[in-house]
Amino acid sequence: MRFLARRLGFYILTAWAAVTLNFLIPRLMPGDPVDLLVARMKGNVDPAAIDAMKRAFGISDANLWQQYLGYLSNLAHGELGRSITFFPTEVSTVIADSLPWTIGLVGVATLISYLVGTSLGVLMAWKRGTWLDGVLPAATFLHAVPYFWVALALAFVFGVTLGWFPASRAYGLEVEPGLTGEFAGSVVYHAVLPAVTIVLASMADRILGMRNVMVTTLGEDYVVMAEAKGLTSRRVMWAYAARNAILPNITSFALSLGFVVGGSVLTEIVFSYPGIGSMLLKGVENEDFPLMQGIFLVISLAVLVANFLADLAYVVLDPRTRQEGQ
C-alpha cells in the first residue's frame, strides 16, 4: 500500500501546514489581533475576554518557538481557546455543536451531486449530438454561479413565494429534538432547499469533468474492441468506458471539495442553517478571531479526511495502485 502511505504522509504534512498557518497568521498580519479587537470595540471588551484571547493565541512574552510549542500542546488537548461571541464557551464546544449539521448536509448533498453529475456526464458523452448536449450551456452557467446566490434564488422562489419548503432553520420550532420520526422528518424537510442548492451549484463541475474525460476514453481501443465483441451498449458504457474515465475524475472531485465546502458555508448563512457556516458568520460579525480560526482549522481537517476517503475509493477502483508496492 505504498500509494496510501504516501498520501497519508502528504495529508499529515498538510494538516501540519494548516495548523502552523493558523499559528502564524495572527502573528504575521499587520497589527496585534487583540489590540485590533479592543480598538474596534472601542475599548468595550471584558478584560477576561482579552485575557482569554491572548491565551487562545498563545500571545505572551515568551519567544516565538515557545509560543509555538505551547500552541501545539493546547491544540493536542483540543483547546482552541474561548469564543468571544459566546464567551465564555470554548470554541471547541461551539464547533462540536454545529459541525454535525454541516457534515450531514454537505456530505449528503455532495454524494448526490457526485452521483448525479457523474452519471449525467457519462450519458452526455455517450449520447453526444442528441438533445442531451443542451445540458452543456446550463452546466457552463452553473459552473460560475455563486452558491449563496443560488441559495437566495431558491429560498425566494420555493421558500418565500411558493412556500413549498422552509427557507430557514434546520428543523421546525414545534418539534423537540430527539430520536423521533417527527424530528427526522422535519430535519429532512428543512434540508431540502440547502441541499438542492449545493447539488445544483457543485454538479456542473462533475458533469463537465466527467463528460470530457469520458469523451476521450470512448476513443480508446478497448472500447472499440468491446463494441466489436458485440457487448450491450450499457455494458460498454458503464463497465468499459465509465469505469476507466472515473479515475481521473475522482482526483478532480477530491480537489474540488474545498471549494464545495466554502460554497456550502455561505449557503448555510442564507438558510440560517445552524452549521459551521452560520457560526463563521457570527465569528466574522463579532471579530471573533478564535472562533474564525478554529473553524478554518476544523474545515481544513475535514477536507483532508474527505480527500483521504477519495484516495481509498481510488485504490478500490484502480487495481494498479494496489500492485505498486508488491
Partner: protein
Amino acid sequence: MKIKIGAGILVFFTLMALLGPLLIGADPAATSSDGLQGPSAEHWLGTTQTGQDILVQIVYGARISMGVGLLSAVIATILAVAVGLVGGYFGGAIDETLSVLTNIFLVLPALPLIIVLAGYLPQRGVASVAVVIAVTGWAWGARVLRAQTLSVRRRDFVEAAKASGERPFRIVFFEILPVLLPVIATSFLATVVGAILAEAGLSFLGLADLSTVSWGTMLYFAQTGQALLIGAWWWFIPPGLCIALVGTGLALVNFGIDELANPRLRTIKAPRKRKAEATA
C-alpha cells in the same frame, strides 16, 4: 462558436465597467425617498431599501468586481508561473518542495483561509482583498504549468538554448514561457472566475470594503436588508446574475480553447453507429 459567445459576453461587461459609469454619471451610493421599488421606467432594475438605483449600482459594481477579479488573477498567475515553471524546469529538491507547497494550497479550502486572512486586514481595500484572494488561488495554475513544463523541457529548442550557454533564468522565462502562453492564458481565465467568486463570497460576509459598491457588497446589503423576506427579488437577482454571466463568458472562452486543442470535446453532430444503437 463558444469562443465568440463567451468573448461577446466579456466585451459587453468590460465596456459596461469601463464606459458605463461615464455614461450614467449618477452616484451609486446616492439615496432617495423611493425605497424598495420594483423595476419601472424610472428605475429599470428597481431600488434598494434606501432608494439607491440598482442599475447604477450594477454598472459601478462591475468595476470593483471585475477589477478585483482581474488584479487578483494577475497576481495569482505570476505566482503560478514562477512556481510551476521553476519547479518543472529545475526538478530535484526544488521541484519536490514547490510541488508539496502547491499541493498543500490545492487541498486547503480556500474560502475559510481567505476569510481568516481578510479578518485580520486592518484596512480592507480593493488591493489588499485582491492579494488575499491571490495568495490562495495560484496553486491550480502552478500544478498545470509544472506538468506542461515537464513535457517541454526536454524539447530540442531547450537543449539548444542550454548548449549555447544560456542562463537557466533566461531559459525558463524567455524560452519556455512563450511556448506555454496558451496554457497560461486558460489558467488565467479560470483563475479570474475563481477570484470573482471569492470576492463575491467575501463581500457577502461583509469582509470586503463595504463603502465601495461591488456585486458582492450589493448581495451583502440585500441579505442584511432582508430582501428575501420582503420579496425584493430585483435587489439580489441582478448582481448574482452578472457574476454568473461573467463567469460563463470566461468559461465559454476557456472551453472553446480546450475544444480547439481536443476536437473530440466538441458538440457538433457526428453521426456515429454507437448513437443509433444506444437510442434503439
